[in-house]
């Protein structure tokens, strides 16, 4: 009996969509939150999108990054529109160069921007400690309460950046949903709806392009030096030639990967994503939802789909 058939025996069906009796396996990570503000939301978003670019997978990009949410002027330290971005890495030390380079190259350079800590936690890493040296000795600092703000003279005035940002080691990376169906365009629309629903959950990001992955991976490869390679069990075009996880009629699979500052945030995000998918049901070609895991032996966090059906 194939694994797909085996799973089929233990599945649930919601609004016509089969929900596999399986779980997403996720890993402990370090995460930080950073607030980026600007004169307008447009420019705050531009700085945030640039700073979180090339931040899909920690393996190849050094960090997994994305926009958590937009902030109203009442929610930011300088009373301007802002965006909270999250960055995740293997460890606090691994986040240090990522934060320094992304903020230094993408936020310092963006018109009218300022940058602040966006997370309350005891552990701190440098935020403005590197970029402040761009001031070449003309930078000055102002300590207010427990925060020190650096003022770096730039061509449109001053770039203000908080000296440190907080890091949590309780973050989780790799929560996921696999959305499987028989119509690629409709499947993509359904998955987009799930990503939009997840975007409303605080403290999580979906770091891949548009929040969606079309190249689910397995650990290792037949080639030396490749840490990950295509997960052939979920490739529809191989389903007749390899040990496949896909049933007949499957045309495409999309994955949503979720990183969060807490395990609860990841679970909440998976729950609302799953609900968004099952609310649409089979109308756009979705047939099944599954999740990626490594047999439960590698990741500390397991999110069973059956527990997330609200």
């Amino acid at each position: 009996m194939s694994q797909a058939q085996n799973q089929a025996m233990n599945t649930k069906t919601v609004n016509g969509v089969t929900i596999d009796d399986t779980f997403a396996e996720a890993f402990g990570m370090s995460g930080t939150g950073i607030i980026i503000t600007a004169d307008t939301m447009k420019w705050a978003r531009i700085a945030a999108v640039t700073a979180t670019g090339f931040g899909t997978s920690v393996i190849g990009c050094g960090a997994e990054c994305g926009i958590d949410r937009e902030l109203s002027p009442d929610e930011t330290p300088d009373g301007r529109p802002g965006v909270r971005v999250l960055m995740f890495g293997f460890s606090p030390d691994a986040l240090i160069p990522q934060v320094k380079n992304r903020i230094g190259q993408c936020v310092l350079t963006s018109p009218g921007s300022a940058c602040f800590n966006g997370l309350e936690a005891d552990l701190k890493i440098g935020l403005g400690q590197g970029p402040r040296f761009f001031g070449d000795g003309h930078q000055t600092a102002k300590k207010l309460g427990n925060s020190r703000y650096w003022r770096v003279p730039v061509m449109d005035g001053e770039f203000v950046i908080e000296e440190t940002c907080s890091v949590t080691t309780e973050a989780v990376g790799g929560g996921n949903l696999l959305i499987i169906g028989k119509d690629r365009a409709g499947l993509l629309e359904t998955t987009e709806a799930a990503v939009e629903a997840i975007a409303k959950v605080n403290d999580v990001i979906t770091p891949f392009p548009g929040g969606i992955v079309r190249s689910g991976s397995k650990v290792g490869s037949k080639y030396k030096g490749m840490f990950a390679s295509t997960n052939e069990a979920f490739c529809p075009t191989l389903r007749g030639s390899v040990k496949s996880e896909l049933g007949p009629g499957t045309i495409a699979v999309f994955e949503i990967v979720i990183d969060g500052l807490t395990s609860k945030a990841v679970a909440d995000a998976m729950r609302v994503g799953l609900k968004a998918i099952t609310d649409i049901g089979t109308a756009k070609g979705v047939t099944r939802v599954s999740a990626g895991n490594y047999g439960g032996k590698l990741g500390q966090h397991h999110y069973h789909l059956k527990d997330l059906l609200s």
């Binding site: 300088d78 300022a114 000055t140 102002k142 300590k143 207010l144 309460g145 703000y149 001053e158 203000v160």
Partner: protein, 269 residues
Amino acid sequence: MSGLTFRLKANPGERLNIAGLTPSKLAKLSSSEFARLKIGMGKASITVGDAFDVSGTAGDTITIEGTGAPLDFAGAGLDGGTLRINGDVGPYAGRKMSGGMLEILGNAGNYLGSGMSGGTIHVKGSGGDNLGGVLSGDRFGMAGGTIVVGGNIGVRAGDKMRRGTVIVKGKTGDGAGTRMMGGTIWAEGGFGPAPGFMMRRGSLIGPSVERLLPTFADCGVHDLLIVRILARHLKQALGPLAPPPMPFNVRKIAGDMAIIGKGEILLPA
């Protein structure tokens, strides 16, 4: 909220050093022990019990009533809780204070908050000279925390001040921010003559300056984000005691250019 109240019995005829009267210090003593604390600064060796009637139980608040006597070092070393003085205090109030709240309902003497590193001092009346300033033997003046003065203050406020914030509802005397090395003095009534003499860093914010030193350079009118951040921080920390926000555009005057010139005077544009 528990606390002790000290009522002055009569004018003791000499200055009293009340540095030991803080919640954390008295919490370690029995009532008989702190009644024996010597606070007189003359030959009479006046004790707490000689000078004050004490009521209440030790807790996080101390109130001193009926201050006909010169009280020096009020709240010196305060590290938490509240010390409220219903009257005037002499010099060195809040000296080396690191936390808590010192409320002075009257006026304060010289060197208010010298060497303080944290906490808040609120003086309803006026302050003396060298507010937040350096004392002989110290390396810096005020190094953190917040002082709010309801009236005017004397000369050389913030001498060698390193960090922290001073809010003056009235006007400063001569030479505010002399030798200042950091922090902020925000004078809602404006600055007296020659502010920022030999100032290295720090910010002096207010509506006017009586006379600028010639070693200060006009850098033009700018929308400085740090002023907005400061205003929001103060509003959050001080509530109604916070100064009204400055206009978005301020004139930055850098100085003292006789030395490194990284300080600034910020005036409305």
